[in-house]
Symmetry: D2
């Protein structure tokens, strides 16, 4: 359940305030040059510290502890660990009795009968996306011919992102956003009609990222408002290039050689400075909840590189399967 | 690749114009009353023949050929077959050289090096959703306590569906639509944080259905426009009931006991009566394409029962896993 | 649970006295010439009718109902069905209360709470090996470069097989046997160190065949009696050829380019003409059991082609994975 | 490929002379008391240092780095790491050109195109069985009602084990052995007819252990020499207890409530002090090979606890699946 993939397979583990978070990657091909510095660029992109993101800054130093020898991947499982350091766990005890709205506090407590590590959301934490980003770096190296680029296109419904974030912060509130991902130079023929369509695999991984509440490919939800004569993408050459790309590069579950394009919806960060209410399990009544501490006003700002990572992971799996 | 599930597992096979389409269901528990008539209601809901759907009517008669004995499931794999009958394959030869826009013609030819059964889109056909509906019926019987209901809420952007469909037909055009699915009486605790979130599994299956181009849970894409203070669902009692349901019943990938709610976007049927253009591989140039025959002007009209089926399949798998 | 494989995947279904038995094969590559006659040779080798095998002769006619078009595999799932015909189910009712020793009667009843199809052992029947043989034929066509040959080398501890079988039949008794399988022209490098060693996958499949109780590779159990200096296979050329083959062609879980050699032990047929005893669940005491009907005195005689089939299935999966 | 299991799932990683070896266990239920000391007893049983085992002694200290909180399992993946310490890697360089007979040197080099970590056999090392033992400890805690006991019953064909080992050591040679495992208090009904028979799953795991070359259940290879009237186990009470146990507790792939009994054959350690020959890839001719260093004269002596571990892992998976 904490694993994904058919050829390029990842297994994720760790808790936000435990010893570490990590990932084990099986099925990466041998002979790829890899060192710890290779992760730094994408890790940096995920980091907080910018406006609208939390001030709790971790060092996020990757350690490769298996699967790499003399600077190259060996073909054996690659394990990457990130020790946890900047931990302040006292904050979290109150949420056992006062579960935060739209956080996993309540469901985790119920699912694991109270044995879950509740500190910093434990295994449910967004910190688990750090090893995902590391796996994404390795996936990208397995498919160097593919160019993947994700960026935030809207925050709180607005395109003037800085101003919108500033306003939310000043109100002690948080914001959602839309991220668009484009992958170029995709071969024709990746994916399966049932059940491993390209959309299925990417959506499966995207919804593993905390805070994602929607995904659409190509024209997506707009397709539902279109007529076939508007929506259909005319094929214009022998490589399958189309005049428009309403399909987002996937037809019948299979890549058609055009750019793969999709968008995800990120909900506003659930932790807000503003007063809220929730059920208090100790006193058995609804009561006020005040969340202290340092949180991202707009977690969407940190997610583009994670979206790239899961796209690379899905595509690496498809491409290794096809080879 | 044509299989899905961990405990309740389905394998799909067959081609639109081959001998049959079918499904094999492994992991269904023993002792469930099951006969062929049990499928008829949901099969009827998927049928064409209504306004806006194709006139090519199949008998769609299910045959249970394994896994049922003396009227009860045995615990062994259940196989259900549907013979193909109303077949007219001559229509399809032209699409080998003139691939239809947004159909799988081009990608299937490339992926399978021309060996694919191109007749009626072969294994890519929407006809494969018929066995999916049958599996959905069995899934529903595994989780009788859950109530699942999907319905079309918009067609071509409009809520006056009959009128909109009529107008598209008169123009030889087609329409997309939005389907909403609500599942009630869901226990708390289904799903996993990574990677088998409830959203991941449902999205995976939803994108296996031809024509689905987007999915969103709860407030979905609207979340991206909201502030945290608007989006957060206040927990109001000890069962985890929330005042609003912007989460769509899933938090941290796990069901929270509220209604599971999601919507999918269905693209307009790719086959339209209107003239179109596509690349002609024989003459190596863009040329006119005229699609004859009988097609659904709005395939979305037939999809609600399929959405219910995949929801039931996903939930049956989660619930059997939890037990 | 009724599926196996990573790339070349099989799903088995059906009951001995139900409508049919069948198999669905996913992951077979497109473009392989395939027709129903291709199965006949191996099906014939599995057939009964020879001395020591049952007189209950089925027609065993394969029907390809999906995945083949114009005489070639399409790349979509291939489904093969075998209708059941020569059925006489009255014999089996007594075994619900008087379970036959070493048959699945007792465990099936317990496992499936009495809902299992008990007729002819239902889904537990050796008849399910018929679709396995069909899958083996297709697997062999995926790896035409590999030559697989299995034969019976001992029956009841003897090499004079005809005489031994005759003696057992005249005593109303049954016999076990040893089958040896050799696969030639195996590439170096198939298999994984953990957990998908070549031995692991072949053993996994071999123990799916009813009546197999042991498997050994190369020198196998004899290795345990040897010293390292006797057992070690000296490498004698740059292709890895070894002077001896005590490893049976697998070292560290990986093929080393020498012949793959293994042997399986087949227990004596559990159904014998002789009187036996078993617990009578109706009367709650041990009582006499007389098994009527037509049975194989030595089921091992029919198993070599099944062993070839599972070897081909395992190797096809490894080789497709490696490509 | 480095993962195994359906509910109780393990993923193994690391190299003998890399930073560490480890395992990630997914699907362990929450609320089990677990600390690092719990592993020490079984780790001690696997340790070398006794007569017939290597003098290279590792500290083998387990670190639990995820999935345990406040002394109890949380339900999230449990990761256990063992740092490597007593490393002397210079010995191994020669084996790149002079692959040791029956070691993975040659196949690893070919499979991974020379990129594998060859030091101490890298990922192929028997050291990887250390995390397996740790997973076995956790598996046992998931099924405390089952009692599993494995012991060595023969070494080099003899039962006077000390004397036999002494003689082999004095000759600079090595020995194989037979290990028998008995698991008591097994419920009726674990396992599947196809393909996940109890024998299939246990054999799959057993052949993942380096040096195992055969496995047999119950009477095993002796069954092949028996007549049905000798082999059949008479059922003597309503719980399915049998008078004899030639089936080894498994009928039709399913546990029948009697003791689960199987034996494995362990080949003699491939590294011996005696002079050997192998192909020299540098000089392209057969040449003498002298293996220095510290090795187990009889690796079988260290394997019983590993056999218990894989039995516990397989049974935990079956039992969690059944619940």
């Amino acid at each position: 359940m904490n694993s994904f993939g058919r050829i390029f397979r990842i297994s994720i583990f760790g808790e936000s305030h435990g010893a570490l978070v990590g990932i084990c990657i099986d099925g990466c091909r041998q002979g790829i040059k890899l060192c710890e510095n290779d992760f730094l660029h994408d890790i940096q992109r995920r980091k907080s510290g910018k406006q609208g993101t939390t001030l709790r800054i971790e060092s996020d130093t990757p350690q490769i502890v298996s699967g790499v020898f003399n600077g190259f991947t060996t073909g054996s499982p690659i394990t990457i660990l990130f020790k946890n350091q900047n931990i302040n766990s006292e904050d979290y005890l109150q949420f056992k009795t006062q579960p935060r709205p739209n956080h996993a506090d309540f469901v985790a407590m119920k699912k694991f009968y109270g044995f879950n590590d509740y500190r910093g959301s434990g295994h449910f934490s967004g910190r688990l996306t750090l090893p995902l980003v590391a796996a994404g770096v390795i996936a990208k190296k397995n498919i160097p011919e593919i160019n993947i680029n994700a960026k935030i296109i809207k925050v709180g419904g607005e395109t003037d992102i800085d101003k919108t974030v500033e306003s939310a912060i000043s109100n002690g509130d948080s914001l959602g956003g839309i991220i668009e991902c484009v992958a170029k130079n995709i071969p024709v023929g990746l994916g399966e009609p049932f059940f491993d369509s390209v959309e299925s695999q990417i959506a499966h991984l995207a919804f593993s990222i905390p805070a994602i509440k929607g995904i659409e490919f190509g024209a997506g939800f707009s397709s539902a408002n279109m007529r076939g004569s508007e929506h259909n993408d005319i094929i214009i050459n022998e490589h399958g290039k189309t005049a428009t790309n309403n399909a987002g590069g996937v037809v019948g579950g299979i890549t058609n050689g055009n750019d793969l394009i999709f968008r995800v919806a990120v909900k506003p960060t659930s932790s807000i400075m503003k007063n809220q209410q929730t059920f208090d399990f100790e006193n058995q009544k609804i009561s006020d909840l005040k969340i202290h501490g340092r949180h991202d006003a707009c977690i969407a700002l940190r997610i583009p590189v994670i979206i790239e990572a899961i796209t690379a992971i899905a595509l690496a799996d498809f491409i290794l399967l096809k080879r």
